[in-house]
């Protein structure tokens, strides 16, 4: 089990400088997956790494169990669910499975004031689903890999 470190330098660097930056960078990688290298898998891994770093530093008693495994499992399932829904909704509109062109998201162009194709927005939707799924799975793995060492 990880323990809390009393070093103020470590705490400051990790909690004030590194972790917020890693989170923001992870979201950046997710949102800019359409324009630059990146996407759901990478962003999920980066944000999960930031969370693991925080938990390693502040110790398990403060850092862990803020999100319980139960919630994380629901989140992971929801991520997959977003992806599957993005596939099923076009089916209802008479198109093929995962045919984003048939997704009813044209209204979003008016809200956000840009001109993006339905397929581009479909890509972003499934990337968000991948992000949630990968992030939750990685955090679940970290939680349960560290917990075993206390029991033995």
């Amino acid at each position: 089990m990880t323990e809390q470190h009393d070093s103020i330098i470590l705490n400051f660097i990790v909690r004030v400088l590194l972790v917020p930056f890693i989170f923001v960078f992870g979201i950046y990688v997710l949102v800019h997956g359409e324009a630059s290298p990146g996407g759901g898998f990478q962003a999920g891994a980066i944000v999960a790494a930031g969370l693991v770093l925080a938990r390693l530093t502040v110790g398990s008693e403060h850092g862990e169990r803020r999100i319980s495994t139960r919630v994380l499992l629901w989140l992971a399932s929801a991520g997959i669910g977003i992806y599957v829904l993005a596939g099923i909704v076009p089916l209802l509109a008479g198109a093929n499975y995962l045919d984003y062109a048939a997704l009813p998201v044209e209204w979003f162009n008016a809200v956000a004031g840009h001109e993006r194709t339905n397929r581009a927005m479909g890509i972003f939707i499934v990337e968000v689903g991948i992000f949630i799924g990968v992030f939750s799975v990685l955090v679940i793995l970290y939680d349960h890999l560290t917990e075993r060492f206390t029991d033995d």
Binding site: G33, E34, A35, S36, P37, G38, G39, G40, F41, S60, E64, R65, S68, T69, R70, L73, A76, S77, G79, I80, Y83, V84, G87, Y97, L98, Y100, A101, R116, T117, R119, A120, G122, I123, V126, E127, G129, I130, G133, V134, S136, V137, L138, I140, L141, D143, H144, L145, E147, R148, T150, D151
Partner: protein, 100 residues
């Protein structure tokens, strides 16, 4: 045994090095790998999807079904590891077994 291994591997290495001389140059637009499907993918991305990143367009749209399977693989692997790691936990501890 070592001699046999060497006798098998050395000709293979020689063959591979010999064949590699005939490979097309890196980034050659006339290479077979760049002639068959790539132009169509570039075209589809520009025309129908209109995002700058062709890799993402192929990953999430053209081969969306494949990526759905990949995500399911990650999810299933996580579930399997979770099941193995929680094997010793008592049923009532599951889900909150991180407390001491």
């Amino acid at each position: 045994m070592r001699l046999l291994t060497a006798a098998l591997l050395l000709p293979l290495a020689a063959l591979l090095i010999y064949v590699s001389a005939d490979l097309p140059d890196r980034g050659d637009p006339d290479a077979p790998a760049n002639l068959h499907l790539s132009p169509e993918l570039v075209e589809v991305t520009e025309r129908d999807i209109e995002i700058p990143n062709i890799v993402t367009a192929v990953l999430a749209d053209v081969r969306g079904y494949d990526t759905l399977g990949e995500t399911l693989v990650v999810f299933t692997a996580g579930l399997a590891v979770l099941l193995v790691l929680m094997r010793g936990a008592r049923p009532r501890d599951r889900g909150r077994s991180n407390e001491r």
